[in-house]
């Protein structure tokens, strides 16, 4: 993922589980403008897999999924 991406909103969902990582990510994106970028932090592999897939199914552009440390993931999504 390019380091030039500007993140408009960050959502820390550490401690949250599926499907609520997706639900909360969806809620955050819903009130953002098309083209804006959301960064979501999750701390479980299931969410790291499911959230990007669900976001793509919704039509959004997943810019990157990056493991930050032993448990945390960063998911960067651009609103369609």
């Amino acid at each position: 993922m390019s380091t030039e991406v500007v993140v408009d909103k960050e959502l820390n969902l550490q401690g949250e589980v599926c499907p609520y990582t997706f639900v909360k990510s969806k809620l955050a994106l819903e009130i953002m403008q098309p083209g804006q970028v959301l960064r979501v932090i999750v701390d479980n592999d299931e969410s790291a897999a499911n959230v990007p897939r669900s976001m793509q199914n919704e039509g959004h552009n997943v810019l990157g999924v990056t493991k930050l440390n032993t448990k945390d993931w960063q998911i960067v999504v651009q609103k369609f």
Partner: protein, 293 residues
């Protein structure tokens, strides 16, 4: 768009800039929020809405339950009756322990047990020309499930006169009928039946019977229609009378048109005042020719 341009629903379309649900609400409504047609904005519209359920009986029970489950913020319940043992075969808002209680009280308790976030407004009255407009002004949509023709005609007329979208239904034996009235955009009840049938012309479900599950099957369709009106999604049964024959398990939509000479919703209505028709016995009419609750 479902609901068309009803002014009553306009406030639900006001822009929403914050989706500040509590953790409990996110969990409670998560299955709505993930639906593309609903999302957080749609859920907020549902939470903002107010719906009047006429009749806390067979049809009113599933309608009220599913609207409460969905999170409709304000639900009014109209019924002046008390719970009777014979109700429990289909009126699932009430329990055996409620026999003898006012239906609106029993209903309020059941709905708040399901969803305590709501406002449930009991209207312990029989609707009449003198009280209906005052009650109706507080609601965006009406779900009609009364047990008599006079109330059905009164509710229809009042909804047309106030531009209030309305779900009407009736059940009888193994049959059900559902129609959604969007005033001036589709037919109203009187476009189908201009005047109530004479008292005694139609057997009541007390005499003819009704399969209890019919109330659930048809009432849930009404709840679905109401939610679609609130969300402005999909196509409601505007201009379509849905016939359900449970023994054959057949659904058939019948196209119905606005009657250009309808006594209440035409350009030159002959009925401009609300009418209190006489209630004979405890008639329980359907949408068109046979009815029950």
């Amino acid at each position: 768009m479902a609901g068309g341009t009803s002014a009553k629903l306009a406030h639900l379309r006001a822009p929403i800039s914050e989706l500040n649900f509590s953790e409990e609400e996110i969990r409670r409504y998560s299955r709505h929020i993930v639906l593309p047609e609903v999302g957080g904005i749609g859920q907020k519209q549902i939470n903002r809405a107010s719906v009047l359920v006429v009749g806390a009986g067979g049809l009113g029970s599933p309608v009220a339950f599913y609207l409460a489950a969905a999170g409709v913020g304000t639900i009014g319940i109209v019924d002046d009756d008390v719970v009777d043992t014979s109700n429990l075969q289909r009126q699932i808002l009430h329990t055996t322990a409620d026999v003898g209680r006012k239906k609106v009280e029993s209903a309020r308790e059941a709905l708040l047990a399901l969803n305590p976030n709501l406002t449930i407004v009991p209207h312990d009255v029989r609707l009449n020309a003198g009280n209906i407009l005052d009650i109706l002004k507080n609601y965006d949509v009406v779900a009609e499930g009364s047990d008599n023709f006079p109330t059905k005609f009164l509710v229809n007329d009042a909804c047309v006169m106030t531009d209030t979208p309305l779900s009407m239904a009736g059940i009888f034996r193994f049959s059900g009928q559902i129609l959604t009235v969007v005033p001036r955009e589709g037919p109203c009840y009187r476009c189908l039946i201009p005047q109530p049938p004479p008292p005694g012309a139609i057997p009541s479900c007390q005499e003819a019977g009704v399969l209890g599950a019919m109330a659930g099957a048809v009432g849930v369709i009404q709840a679905t229609e109401v939610l679609k009106l609130i969300l402005g999604k999909g196509e409601v049964l505007r201009g379509r009378l849905l016939l359900f024959e449970a023994l054959q398990m057949r659904f058939e939509p019948i196209e119905v048109k606005r009657n250009p000479e309808c006594p209440v919703c035409s350009e030159t209505p002959s009925i401009t005042e609300l009418i209190d028709y006489e209630i004979a016995c405890e008639m329980q009419p359907p949408v068109t020719t046979q009815a029950s609750q």
